[in-house]
């Protein structure tokens, strides 16, 4: 927590003015409420500033009475006391109402920002995710949004009242005594300098501590992930020893960091106590000389105590605002990212046959570097097409283009004669089902995960789909069967089993065109052949793309497209291509070395 705070305070926004303006837009719907808050803040602050003086006056009055040996009649300050009671009540009430209103405002803004980001994420082109780490995006929606909203709160309620408090207290203090005010103000720079010195010293140790935490976490992660090996090779003691070493290093740096940052509080307190003593001394002296009243001493002490807090608030304003705007900039930049091209047309295909034409396609993830060059092929409806080639040949890119995850640089892709650019994306994607190399399992029950292919599917459909994809058996071996809650990190489901679930998902969605992008690479060959069989049954007369590095699985494809460096180098059936004894032949043989 401390780390993020320090970080966000040190980094500066690039375009301060503009982003601040945009941020203020978020506050616009609440202008009236904010004005009410400010007015209440003004009144309550004035009350807070006045009350010590009133109290002091009452005490002076009492003291004078005593000096004159009179009995004190409470009736004399009845009015003052009633005023105090009302002032205290109102000032607390106002503070509460302010907080109450402000909480709602910040809650609304937080909600709005978060929901905007989540909607935005679904509209961004996939390119964005290639260039930004998920940790970054995550930190925007949590840390940055938190920084903005929790600090806006402080700025609006605290900073304004701090200014008024300082001015008000200063006036009241001068009214009591110029000399005392001077002494009180003089102690301020001392504490500021001391705090600054300690902060810079503790920062160094803090960095050190962070480094050691990183080291420790790294070691723990590694050891826990290799638990099998540690066990089998009797490495427990060794790993505990190493852990202990790092742990002790962390202990030393943590202690220093904790000690120095912990000094801040006592220093403020000690200086505060010094100020107290000096004021009492000076006040006593001045009171003896008759220059101030007795009641002014406790009043002054109260003022000095109240003076510190707003000064610290204001001192941190600039860095606070900077932190807010820096966070806002990151969030706003995300919200302003260009979205996927909107659909202008929404052509539909009357009766989907599944003829797919790639016409002179060129595409690159980055400018000037084309990953796909002049890709040109016609795929007959209902055929099984395999795309093969070495890593980096551009196999997956073709799929990304067909799904319109990325837009072409030039060329056209047609399904049954209709340009996919002229279809709505959601329509296009509803035609195609795909199973990817990386399984994606979300946090939820197994049932929900399968039902993701068709949100309104009933239990029977789900179980049927699981049976078709051979997932039913292993699901039944799990603790709660179909109702077991799983996520990406669950360890008693293997990668292959996760893949079976995503295949079941695709069975359920029953698409017209099917893409298997290395879908079986984490599944052993036996399961793969069963699944492929099931797929063939499902995909009868429907177009299927299979991308696989294991060539044995695509031998029976109707057409094999051999790619290398973004280009088609060969097209044909398995036997034809082998007979050519060229690229495919070499690729194939490199995998089947059978001499034993």
């Amino acid at each position: 927590m401390k780390g993020t705070k320090n970080k966000s305070i040190t980094d500066k926004p690039k375009d301060f003015k503009n982003n601040l303006k945009k941020l203020l837009q978020y506050l616009k719907p609440y202008y009236i409420r904010i004005i009410i808050i400010l007015i209440m803040s003004l009144i309550s602050t004035i009350f807070t500033v006045l009350s010590p003086k009133i109290l002091g006056d009452i005490i002076t009055n009492i003291y004078n009475n005593i000096q004159n040996h009179k009995t004190i009649d409470l009736i004399n300050f009845k009015d003052l006391i009633i005023i105090l009671i009302i002032i205290y009540l109102l000032s607390s009430l106002f503070r509460f109402i302010m907080g109450f209103l402000m909480s709602k405002i910040t809650a609304n803004i937080t909600y709005r920002l978060r929901s905007q980001i989540s909607e935005k994420l679904n509209k961004l082109p996939l390119k964005y995710f290639d260039n930004n780490s998920s940790g970054d995006i995550l930190s925007k929606i949590t840390n940055d949004v938190d920084t903005i909203t929790s600090n806006i709160d402080t700025i609006i309620t605290e900073i304004f009242s701090s200014f008024i408090t300082i001015v008000g207290i200063f006036i009241m203090m001068i009214k009591i005594s110029g000399w005392m005010t001077l002494t009180a103000v003089a102690t301020l720079p001392i504490s500021v300098i001391l705090i600054f010195l300690i902060a810079s010293k503790s920062q160094k140790h803090f960095d050190n501590q962070q480094k050691n935490i990183g080291k420790l976490t790294g070691y723990i992660t590694e050891t826990y992930s290799a638990h099998n090996i540690v066990k089998v090779y009797n490495g427990e003691e060794k790993s505990i020893e190493t852990f202990n070493n790092i742990n002790n290093q962390l202990k030393d740096s943590s202690f220093k960091s904790e000690f120095y940052s912990g000094l801040m509080m006592p220093i403020i307190k000690v200086i505060g106590n010094f100020g107290y003593v000096i004021i009492v001394l000076l006040g006593g002296f001045l009171a003896v000389k008759g220059r101030i009243n007795i009641g002014d001493i406790p009043a002054f002490i109260q003022y000095v105590r109240k003076f510190n807090h707003p000064i610290l608030s204001i001192a941190s304003t600039t860095s606070l605002i900077q932190a807010i705007v820096a966070s806002a900039e990151r969030v706003l930049n995300l919200l302003e990212e260009p979205e996927e091209e909107p659909n202008k047309l929404n052509k539909k295909i009357d009766h989907v046959k599944g003829k797919i034409e790639f016409k002179k396609i060129n595409f690159g993830y980055q400018k000037d570097i084309n990953v796909i060059k002049d890709f040109n092929v016609v795929i007959k409806p209902g055929t099984k097409v395999a795309i093969v080639g070495p890593t980096g040949a551009g196999k997956t890119t073709i799929v990304n283009l067909l799904m319109r995850f990325y837009e072409l640089n030039s060329g056209k892709i047609l399904i049954d004669g209709v340009d996919i650019k002229e279809m709505e994306k959601s329509y296009l994607r509803s035609l195609i089902g795909m199973v990817l190399q990386d399984t994606w399992i979300f946090n939820g029950t197994i049932k929900e995960n399968i039902a993701y292919g068709k949100l309104d599917a009933c239990d029977n459909d789900i179980i049927d789909a699981a049976k078709l994809s051979y997932a039913d058996h292993f699901i039944n071996t799990l603790p709660n069967g179909y109702n077991m809650i799983i996520d990406q990190e669950v360890s008693n489901i293997s990668a292959g089993e996760k893949q079976l679930l995503t295949i079941a998902r695709t069975f359920l969605s029953n698409p017209k065109i099917l893409i298997l992008d290395e879908a079986t690479s984490s599944i052993d060959t036996r399961s793969e052949i069963l699944i492929t069989k099931a797929f063939e049954k499902l995909m009868k007369n429907k177009t299927t793309f299979v991308i696989a590095h294991r060539l044995s699985t695509i031998k029976n494809a109707d057409m094999i497209i051999v790619m290398d460096q973004g280009k088609i180098v060969e097209i044909g059936k398995h036997e034809e291509l082998l007979a050519k004894r060229k690229f495919y032949y070499n690729l194939y043989n490199s995998q089947f070395d059978l001499t034993n």
Partner: protein, 576 residues
């Protein structure tokens, strides 16, 4: 809870010192107003400047002492908090290391990592806060009341009333907050999860056109977080004005009661001022105490999470009476009707699995995903324990052997890369640092690692970074094989260890291995028929049961599943 508190034991003396120091500190804070009242009542009232200066000097000295004591408190509380965290982390790590996979696999690795790091630091932060701030409030409260009691009974009653009112208020608020806080923590975890899902699943979400579904799911959570947060924040903003109000009214009460007592001659003005300042000091320390309520739910959750780990007892450990490992070169491993369930699961992963293997033989295990291949090999080093049946080595139940000795004769190569950061040398010699350099190099040569190791800057001393990411997948796998060879085991287990290697390397390593493993037990879990074709025995598993057991050619004839797998990889002619 007790187990966690035990970590505080070594710091008992420190804690005692800190409590004493805090008590002194509270006394100092309270003594300043008292001395001030002397200045007013005796100094100013009598126009005695010397007295004022004398008392002033005493106050200054006390303030200086206060500074030192504060620093000492900071120092000791840091020592306690950090030392406690250090000990607790070690305790958790040691516990986790002792767990068998049976318990270990009930948690995700991530959750175990957070428990060892974040949760510990949450508790230690809260502990330091408690020591520095929370202890101050009650001590200050008691001290203040006692001090007031000495001077004026009715004043102390008012202060006591204030303390009780503030305490009751805070108990109510914290109770209201507690459940909401635990809920909030869960919701925030969920928020992170949902966002991560959107990011990692972009393609799938869009392919299924489920953007709206995902947004709705997110907004449900977002809504609940916002509302929970709002509730907590509103409670939070209510605390300060309420405490302030109580304090301010106490001041007025002190004032009124003071006037009455002054009239009776029981009180002086300076004392009156001192009393209202006591109240102020006590209330401030209670406001600080309320910070603890913000931290405590988080710390409590962390305590529960850590307790879950510390409570675990490993089920796989040495029996009190163990049998001696035979000293021999001839070994025989037998699985006799072995049935095995993972923790909690209704269906067994393995059912009635039987086979036997002797030194000098090679056993291959083949089957589809989820058929239980890896489970079979995990049972041999007792990473898990079986439910029914018997596993014996030379006739001895492996449960009767010392775990250490059992594992000493096993060389295990996992499917996933599990290298540890450190030098290549340390990794190959992982089983025993006493392994000679000669044997280490031999192992490197057999596993075809020698050449690429020698190509590296510092050869065997070259550092492998975390998760071995400065090595290719194939290189990692070869080092893992070297590690197994260097430990000179009697039983080799290769759990799908060759799939990351290209065919050429695979073949060559297996040729080299043949020499070394001539008189050993070798168990290979594999997917490539080519890798296992020549095994002495092949065990074919399907859904946890043995469906074939024999040699390649026999299985081709009598095991349809085997034939199917074989044909999926090789043509009819290639198989023969």
């Amino acid at each position: 809870m007790k187990k966690i508190l035990n970590c505080l034991k070594p710091y008992k003396i420190f804690i005692l010192i800190v409590i004493i120091f805090i008590a002194i500190q509270a006394l100092i804070e309270l003594s300043l107003p008292t001395l001030m009242s002397f200045i007013i009542d005796k100094g100013i009232a009598n126009n005695d400047l010397n007295y004022i200066i004398k008392i002033g000097l005493i106050m200054l000295i006390i303030a200086v002492i206060g500074g030192f004591i504060q620093t000492a408190i900071t120092c000791f509380s840091a020592k306690i908090g950090i030392g406690f965290a250090n000990d607790l982390r070690l305790k958790i790590f040691t516990k986790i290391e002792s767990l068998s996979l049976q318990e270990f696999s009930n948690f995700s690795t991530n959750s175990l990592i957070t428990r060892t790091t974040n949760d510990v630091s949450n508790i230690s932060k809260a502990l330091v806060m408690v020591i520095r701030i929370a202890l101050m409030a009650p001590i200050m409260g008691i001290g203040g009341v006692l001090l007031a009691l000495k001077q004026n009974v009715s004043m102390s009653k008012i202060i006591l009333f204030g303390i009780v009112a503030v305490t009751v208020l805070m108990i109510i608020v914290s109770n209201l907050m507690k459940t909401k806080f635990t809920r909030l923590q869960k919701l925030i975890d969920k928020l992170n999860l949902l966002i991560r899902e959107i990011i990692t699943g972009t393609r799938v979400i869009r392919a299924f056109n489920n953007e709206k579904y995902q947004e709705n799911k997110f907004n449900d959570n977002n809504n609940e977080i916002t509302n929970t947060n709002l509730f907590i924040n509103r409670l939070g903003v209510a605390i300060e004005p309420m405490i302030n109000l109580i304090f301010n009214y106490i001041t007025i009460a002190i004032l009124i009661s003071g006037v009455l007592q002054i009239n009776l001659g029981k009180l002086e003005v300076g004392q009156l001022i001192a009393f209202s300042q006591y109240a102020s000091l006590i209330v401030t320390s209670f406001i600080m105490l309320s910070l603890i309520f913000v931290m405590s739910p988080r710390a409590l959750t962390s305590i529960t999470r850590i307790n879950e780990i510390l409570q675990l007892e490993t089920s796989i450990k040495d029996k009190t009476k163990t049998k001696k490992m035979p000293k021999t070169k001839k070994w025989e491993l037998i699985f006799n009707n072995v049935t095995f369930n993972y923790f909690n699961s209704p269906l067994p992963v393995l059912k009635d699995v039987s086979f036997s293997i002797k030194s000098g033989e090679v056993l291959a295990i083949l089957g589809s995903t989820g058929s239980g291949k890896s489970s079979v090999v995990n049972l041999i080093p007792r990473l898990y324990d079986i439910k029914e049946g018997l596993i014996t080595i030379n006739g001895i139940n492996i449960k009767d052997l010392k775990l250490k000795e059992l594992r000493n004769i096993i060389g295990y190569v996992p499917q996933k890369s599990m290298l540890l950061s450190g030098s290549i040398k340390e990794n190959i010699k992982y089983a025993d640092s006493k392994i000679t350099d000669f044997n280490m190099k031999k192992a490197a040569k057999v596993s075809l690692s020698y050449d690429f190791i020698m190509d590296r800057n510092e050869q065997f001393e070259d550092k492998i970074v975390e998760r071995g990411s400065n090595l290719s997948g194939g290189q990692q796998q070869r080092l893992q094989i070297a590690r197994a060879i260097a430990s000179n085991p009697e039983i080799y287990i290769f759990d799908d260890s060759f799939s990351a290697l290209d065919f050429q390397t695979d073949k060559e390593i297996r040729k080299n291995l043949k020499q070394i493993t001539k008189s050993k037990i070798v168990i290979i879990v594999a997917q490539r028929i080519g890798t296992i074709k020549n095994a002495d025995k092949i065990l074919v598993l399907n859904e946890g049961q043995v469906v074939g057991y024999g040699k390649h050619h026999d299985l081709l004839n009598n095991c349809p599943i085997y034939k199917e797998i074989a044909l999926s990889q090789l043509s009819e002619e290639e198989l023969l």
